[in-house]
Amino acid sequence: MPDAQAQTKIPVTVLTGYLGAGKTTLLNRILSEPHGKKFAVVVNEFGEIGIDNDLVVGADEEVFEMNNGCICCTVRGDLIRIIDGLLRRKGDFDGIIVETTGLADPAPVAQTFFVDETVGAKTALDAVVTVADAKWLKDRLKDAPEAKNQIAFADVILLNKTDLVSDTELKDVEMRIRAINPFARIHRTQKSDIAIDKVLGQGAFDLDRITAIDPDFLEGGHKHFHDEDMQSFSFASDKPLDPDKFFPWIQELTQREGPNILRSKGILAFKDDPDRFVFQGVHMILDGDHQRPWRADEAKTSRIVFIGRKLDRAALEKGFLSCVA
């Protein structure tokens, strides 16, 4: 897609978080603070928003399977229609915030922005923001798969209610988050108090903004703490890749393993190609493009990351390394 079009797209922030984590408090902050911006808000329960705003819309969380033979390709039908409707009032607001219920899987919401043509052409998923309760997250990660999915999907995590735990407990829960999702930006907060520019306008799904995949975390970091269920793998290669090997591999992989791969991201150097190629995906849906030329001072290292379940690390690594030109 040309850049000129990307600039006019309305940014959409998906706000998730388990019950009681502080989602609504964050939403009320975003809506009430004097930042001069107007947001249309899609909520699932009326009444919780303390702000009188005629751009607050109730949703039904109607998830349905696309009829395209892709079993994990579920989308939010209600959201497609609501965004179609909101687009009629283009110019009345600067961004859209979609709040999900505490028990929701973020995947159908994220996939909606890739699957529907109109929604994809006129809006852009900015980031998945997850509010997590510093005190209770640890327990929820054990007993609520939804809570773990929300962490795994996040681009930005508000580790909230930090005043209710000790420093040691806080470090521990942060490690657990890192074990599930090493890529998200984590902000420690109390009462969801955060500058809105740390939550909105993140461009996390914007391929132009994928600047780095932190090599440190790839090497060390998360190895100290393994989540029993959620995995995150990252692989790197200093040798350029062959696009004719890489694309068939990633297509086949995501078709086959799509249900198990929650998120994927990559920055790739192809042979005889001066540009960085970046991509990211949600389950089976992939989006990728040439981003910009590699800089002279940059190591042309290809990196790829996966967050998911039941993934075969050795097979993924072997598959990726076999794409070397």
Binding site: G58, D60, M66, G77, I80, R81, R88
Partner: protein, 331 residues
Amino acid sequence: MAAPSSSSSLTSKLRHLDLGGEVIGVHFLGRSAAFALGTGGIVLAEGDNEQRIEAHKGAILSVAGDARRLLTGGDDGRVVATSGDGASETLFEQRGRWIDQVASGADGAFAFSIGKTAHFRPAKGEAKSLEFPSTVGGLAFAPKGTRLAVAHYGGASLWFPNAVAKPDVLVWKGSHRGILWSPDGRFVITTMQEAALHGWRLPEGANMRMSGYPSRVRSMSFTAGGKYLATSGASEVILWPFTSKEGPMGKQPTMLAPRDTRVSCVAAHPKEDVVACGYDDGLVLMVRIADGAEILLRAPEGSPVSALGWRADGGALAIGTEAGKAGLMVF
């Protein structure tokens, strides 16, 4: 075939209007074209006259109409009827909800939907409502009588609001959005979230799958007498044949007026075998089904054509675009 040039004997007859808001739908009330806008306004245009009515305090989401009045549903929770003289009347209001769909029936009856609930309002008699398992995607009255076709997830339902019996459910997996009856009432067609149409032959409910589109179909229209179903969604007008009992099953569609950009809107002439089609770049032409002959009506200016409507006698065509430009042509 040759690319259409930027002018024809007719383009000079097009009257241009700048409406200032996305045109959601257009419908003739007698000799006057009524444009419904995303900004909530309605503009009535006839000859050189233009009248603006602020019908909704928000966006208009859906549009229907008959010879007498235009029905609009808005995100202000209102159903508004507007007549050709500019008088407008609120027929229903529920604050804080969106009126997603409206439909116009015979004898002044109308229907609308809010989320999962469809509402039926006869001119006289008792109002009825029914909740469906999922949000109503489309709503249409049968050509005669008061039976309503309701599109939703997993298919469509045929509802007699005045009958006690449960609606007949026509099942097909996926999300069904727009819905349309054939003029003889023997077929019900839906546009799907996927790039396909689905149809059912009545009364037996036999499935008809019409696929092969490169993008979602947003606009469909039966040609005079129900011979063809004309649709948008491809870089040519797709016409599915409905003359035989089986409808289009096992037959190839006719494809006319190919261009290098997609058809965004179609409207069949009420009397002749002619279809008006608008494209993503704002171009509008008329094409004759018999031989594919094209006449340019509007030169492209960039914004997709979002609405097309013929006057009941076929003597005029109204055009609206996403950017809020409009055109009126009297033949």
